[in-house]
């Protein structure tokens, strides 16, 4: 039965109206993703009413391609303006912006586009082939396992703190602490809210993110006199797509990051925002050229971008196999399914197989559409780098203010964003890294909720965490990463690796230091 659905779905995708929906969704998604404050989730939610009048498979194809394209769109502003368009693109800032500053904006966007294509395609294939099997994995992730994932995520902080580990951990713990603001999940106690209702649900980390990255960047642009803008001007002829040998070198990193993306997408409660940091961290861990990360290293762009597009397929797996949304965006997508009278749940694969498989194929073809549309759109975007600094600065501010308002239709968020903007500026000035703060903000609430739930389920016994094999493995990996960032561990590693290093430059791309 599923085989026939597979082919019905494929045939459906090629119906002109569905192809048009895919291309249209891709274009809208890219623009919305590029706007700070407008996330993929919101894009889907806002376009949902538009799809009501369409056939279910047309509407869903459009929404899925929109989701995918928004993931790539987020990287455009991250690379060009140091303002991540979506939270999932925050990690892309680390290497994407320095590369653009070097005058290689086109190359950075090309890398991002290629990585997005690889990540999206791998996840679409995973979705088409092994969705029912993978779907079952999700059920193994209860509070205990999610707690372990959060702990593992926190260990990333160590490797993200360029320069000083102490300052990185400081920023990370500060982020976690800010992450505990809001109503406590088990007792309903409002914590650190000062009676402000807007803080009851916690600090929306997208608000923090926009402030932390974009406001300091806008101020910096204003302070730079026009004389030092030579670095920002990209030649439009700058080659966008990587050459074949470059592509081959990117491949292992892309595949690894895509796998991370698919798996992170599967786990309920974690999405593109987490996956991109995980992938960045692993790319750095596997690289023999760790120092290059953060300076405009291609692998540092490819990893998060492959991962955040791979999340789309991963998050759709439990959504489709079980009716459990793997991310907030897929939760909204499920709403779109229900409007057509299709109940989310196991029947998606059986009773409504034709609609579902059309959606799955649409995800695959949306990647191709994204690549083609992206090539044209991105060329136009590179022109942004020719605009003088002091014009870009105020524009970033307007975008950030309107974008942070758009999140919850609330002026409070605008002020909160500006507070984080000031914090980010101070941190940048004194040399304290901000990315760990972002990770802390993302993982703080996850950590808090899952810890409290685990302790309730385990009757307050902390050793309870040792009863889940998945949690034990994840926590062991976390422990290893912590040990790795202490002085002892790399010393041993270096000794073992030294003889090879002379002959082998590692997975650094040729020409990345030109």
């Amino acid at each position: 039965m599923p085989e026939s659905f597979l082919w019905i779905g494929l045939a459906n995708v090629f119906v002109p109206v569905n192809l048009a929906a895919i291309v249209g969704g891709t274009m809208i998604g890219m623009v919305i993703g590029a706007m700070p404050g407008l996330s993929a989730t919101m894009a889907i939610a806002l376009l949902l009413p538009l799809t009501f009048s369409m056939e279910p498979e047309t509407g869903l194809s459009m929404l899925a391609s929109l989701y995918l394209a928004a993931m790539y769109g987020g990287s455009i502003a991250a690379i060009l303006l140091r303002t991540p368009g979506t939270p999932a693109a925050a990690a892309t800032v680390l290497d994407g912006f320095p590369m653009a500053q070097r005058g290689e904006a086109g190359r950075a966007l090309g890398l991002s586009l290629t990585a997005s294509l690889i990540g999206g395609t791998i996840s679409a294939i995973a979705l088409l082939t092994i969705a029912p099997i993978l779907g079952r994995i999700v059920l193994n992730f209860g509070p205990i396992e999610i707690f372990a994932v959060a702990v593992l995520g926190i260990t990333i902080i160590g490797s993200l703190s360029q320069g000083s580990t102490i300052l990185g951990l400081f920023a990370g713990v500060l982020g976690l602490l800010i992450g505990t603001v809001g109503m406590d999940p088990t007792t309903g106690t409002p914590r650190f809210t000062f009676g402000i209702l807007n803080l009851f649900s916690g600090v929306e980390f997208t608000v923090a993110l926009i402030g932390l990255f974009s406001v300091p960047q806008a101020i910096r642009l204003m302070l730079k006199s026009e004389a030092d803008r030579e670095g920002r001007v990209s030649s439009i002829r700058d080659r966008m797509l990587p050459t074949w040998p470059q592509f081959r070198e990117l491949l292992p990193n892309s595949v690894r990051s895509s796998a991370i993306g698919v798996l992170t997408g599967l786990i309920p409660g974690t999405g593109g925002d987490t996956a991109s940091w995980f992938a960045y961290n692993e790319a750095k861990r596997f690289s023999r050229n760790k120092e290059a990360f953060g300076t405009g290293h291609p692998a540092g762009i490819v990893a998060p971008e492959a991962a955040n597009n791979a999340v789309v397929g991963g998050a759709l797996v439990p959504t489709i196999a079980l009716g459990i949304p793997g991310s907030s965006a897929t939760a909204v997508l499920l709403g779109g399914v229900m409007v057509h009278g299709i109940l989310p749940g196991p029947t998606l694969m059986t009773e409504y197989g034709d609609v579902t498989y059309t959606l799955l194929w649409a995800v695959l073809f949306a990647n191709v559409a994204l690549f083609v549309v992206g090539l044209f759109f991105t060329r136009a975007c590179v022109a942004v780098t020719k605009i003088p600094n002091r014009v870009v600065g105020p524009v970033i501010i307007v975008l950030s203010v309107v974008g942070s308002f758009a999140l919850n239709n609330s002026m409070f968020d605008v002020w909160l964003m500006l507070v984080f903007g000031m914090l980010g500026f101070v941190f940048d000035e004194v040399g304290i890294p901000t990315p760990p703060l972002v990770i802390g903000l993302i993982l703080g609430p996850v950590l808090d909720t899952s810890l409290q739930q685990s302790l309730l389920i385990g009757q307050g016994n902390w050793l309870f965490f040792m009863q889940s094999p998945i949690a034990v493995v994840l926590l062991a990996i976390a422990l290893l990463s912590i040990l790795q960032s202490t002085p002892l561990f790399p010393a041993i590693g270096r000794k073992l690796r030294k003889p090879r290093e002379a002959s082998d430059l590692g997975d650094d791309l040729p020409g990345s230091r030109e």
Binding site: F170, T189, R191, R390, V395, V402, L451
Partner: protein, 151 residues
């Protein structure tokens, strides 16, 4: 020096949060209190390291160590402060004067003061940016941003 200041402020905040959390039920205060303590420890460590570093730098330079804080050029400080002030005024002005008034002003003031582009460029920037953002956020997404004064 700046790092020490940030760390000290953070220690203060952490102490405050620790104290606030003391009133919460056990489940609610567990993580915040643990994190406050870790933050205080890390901030203290950061201060110690910074002091040691500054000391070492001064010893290396001998008595002729430079000032602890190097001030940027006064012109830049002025631009920076004015711009930050403008950002806050802009956020304040949106609900008061409306998006369609506040935004062109937000764009016009720094552009006219610093003149990074010619008059035509300024005009095009203001119209294009205000228009495109209006198109996407307000016309297309129906965002309830006040548009005019008193709206």
């Amino acid at each position: 020096m700046g790092r020490i200041l940030v760390a000290v402020v953070a220690i203060g905040v952490a102490f405050y949060m620790y104290g606030q959390a003391a009133d919460y039920p056990r489940a609610a205060r567990r993580l915040p209190q643990l994190l406050s303590i870790i933050l205080i420890l890390l901030a203290t460590l950061a201060v110690v390291r910074e002091v040691v570093r500054l000391r070492r730098a001064r010893l290396a330079d001998g008595a002729a160590a430079g000032p602890l804080v190097t001030l940027p050029e006064p012109g830049k400080v002025l631009i920076g402060v004015a711009f930050v002030a403008l950002i806050f005024v802009y956020a304040w002005a949106i609900p008061v004067a409306g998006y369609l008034v506040a935004t062109p002003l937000m764009l016009a003031l720094p552009l006219i003061a610093l003149r990074p582009v010619g008059w035509r460029g300024i005009g095009i920037t203001i119209v294009a940016v205000t228009g495109v953002i209006w198109l996407i956020f307000i016309w297309f997404l129906n965002l309830p941003v006040p548009l005019y004064p008193g709206a």
